[in-house]
Symmetry: C2
Subunit: 368 residues, 2 copies
């Protein structure tokens, strides 16, 4: 809040929305609802989706990640909600959780989490299709949206997810399923839900059927998640940003469906309608300012051994007090805030890397 | 979520809003905004304000508490928001925080927290008055509201807070301040903000001036906080509930101003307008169903030694796994859910005390 305080702006609403990878989506909904509510006073809303996730040694470790994406919310936006088209699914599950408060590492059951994700996807899609039919008076199929964006812990799950929507369309006998597809999926028509989540043959057949549509409706959304890896609560917006980057000049009046998932579990499928919009809030200007290509190119590659060494330091410092950090900020982008110290009272202090390397900022005191 | 799942209702939005004692107010605003937004689908919203706060041995220990209050949000309510009349204050402070993840006990700086509370109150009141003037075209003073409800860590701070509003009115030369009051407060007119927070003489003089108005505008809101102690995020709603309990048959068309504070810090002053409403959602029916008198009478008194013993057990179990709880639920109200077990994977299991003691419920499995 110090950034706002420095500008004399303390009349602010909205606090942390916490729910694993879904937290950013919950904050987004809260913020959009605020703008639509009677208490809105005309100012922009700001959503920050941020996460830092690391794993103990083992197969999950490479799926860790840290990221932040900020969204500006206001009227006359080029990206608008089709608010009535929304399906959510909440259930109680221990697929991924952080119960050991002395450790930053979560407990994760990868197989269960994948099934939870697909079950939540099915449930959200069912509610979504139901609402579409109620408001549009016709059945929904994947043909009714130009693009599909998924929370992307890893790309394989995105492929499975889109194929799963096709399978749902097949089961509902929707218009997106042609005769060839029906023939390929027919052997799986009688599977129970549980069987269908476990069937490798269905996975293979549905992905084969979905491939051409995947290439046009999903592939343009996968650039950043594939290049950067899991970004947790920012992940789905990194996928959406990939679409803006790749297709900004052809998105006018297009419908994009997003699926957000957070372990524990909460999930929502929702619909956005895009239009080019007016500068500075035009899609092409947004794409230009994001400058994804440059950001991807400016990444630094480090060796796994260095990553492991960093995690060891983090283990030591997690929840700790009375330490100062190394002052080496050479890898940070200009303007980045970074932790300098945690004092004996656990209070945290930050500094900001100068935008112009010739001028140094003082330490920002965090507290009193 | 298992209660909702059991009814086949999983299409739910809204996740945890986290911000110390302000969390419930943030959830309330989110929920009301949802009902006012385009994505609302006609269902009721539910806000649960809940907290459990304990302190290490020392002077703060008696101010611990645990509570839950639930609010039902929907259209045509007898309690409505005056949404344009709202002032918030967010700032960065280490007045109360929980940095040691291995312990349930917070770090608290009581003196700093009290000053933070009063500073936030001043700032919120300033914004609130400004908005009132903008929308109503006249200056606000405490005379423009029938009742004032404060977040109530302890009653002394509530008394100080209301007196502080009077002092603010005096400084702004508002209509609530008569000549006698002006005379008493005049010696403090030139104090700086910091001096005014520290001045015992001002505290005494302003409370003396405020006393008659306090008795009519605040005292009816203090019953539950005084009887039960700090309820943290539920505290302000416990104060508001005291008002409904005490005054439900005289509240029609009355304005009530609430001040919610959460350490860290976030605070909002907001305005509610009450009307009797239609049964079942009438104020008198709400008062009758809450049955505060019976609830206060049904409390169980335990000795401090027993409380300390319970805290010792909690210290042992905080963040722990692989334990079962005692099955003695004699002190719980019928229908209460309670923890029975935390397994080796840290998964938690609950049971429910039967409503009719002759029938036992099975354990509710929490997860898969």
């Amino acid at each position: 809040m110090q950034i706002f305080e420095a500008c004399g702006n303390t009349d602010i609403e909205g606090v942390d929305s916490t729910n694993a990878c879904y937290g950013g989506t919950a904050a987004l909904f809260n913020c959009v609802n605020w703008v639509e509510s009677a208490s809105w006073d005309g100012r922009y809303g700001l959503v920050v989706c941020t996460d830092s996730a690391v794993y103990a040694e083992g197969p999950a470790r490479p799926t860790g990640g840290a990221a932040a994406i900020a969204l500006l919310i206001g009227p006359d936006a080029p990206i608008t909600f089709e608010s009535k088209l929304r399906g959510s699914h909440m259930a109680h599950a221990y697929d991924f959780y952080k119960p050991n408060l002395a450790s930053e590492y979560p407990v994760v059951d990868g197989k269960l989490s994948q099934t939870c994700y697909l079950m939540a996807l099915d449930s959200c899609y069912k509610y979504f299709c139901h609402k579409f039919e109620k408001f549009e008076g016709k059945q929904f199929s994947v043909n009714d949206a130009e693009y599909f964006v998924f929370h992307s812990p890893y790309n394989k799950l995105v492929q499975k997810s889109f194929a799963r929507l096709l399978f749902n369309d097949f089961v509902r006998n929707a218009s997106s399923v042609d005769e060839a597809a029906k023939e390929k999926l027919a052997p799986f028509a009688a599977l129970t839900g549980d069987e269908s989540y476990q069937s490798r043959d269905l996975e293979k057949a549905s992905q084969q059927v979905a491939k051409p549509l995947y290439d046009t409706k999903v592939q343009p959304t996968t650039l950043i998640p594939k290049q950067v890896g899991n970004m947790y609560t920012a992940s789905i917006y990194a996928a959406f940003v990939s679409l803006i980057h790749n297709k900004h000049n052809t998105l006018n009046d297009k419908r994009v469906i997003l699926f957000s998932y957070g372990s524990g579990l909460t999930a929502t499928m929702f619909s956005l309608r895009l239009r080019e919009g007016q500068k500075p809030f035009s899609l092409s200007n947004i794409a230009s300012i994001m400058n994804i290509e440059k950001k991807l190119k400016s990444r630094h590659e480090i060796q796994p051994e260095k990553f492991v060494e960093t995690l060891k330091l983090m283990e030591h410092r997690y929840g700790a007090k009375d330490f100062v950090t190394s002052k080496d900020y050479s890898l940070l982008a200009p303007g980045t805030y970074y932790l300098t110290e945690v004092d004996t009272m656990y209070r945290r202090f930050y500094s900001k890397k100068p935008k112009d390397a010739s001028c140094e900022n003082g330490t920002v005191e965090n507290g009193h």
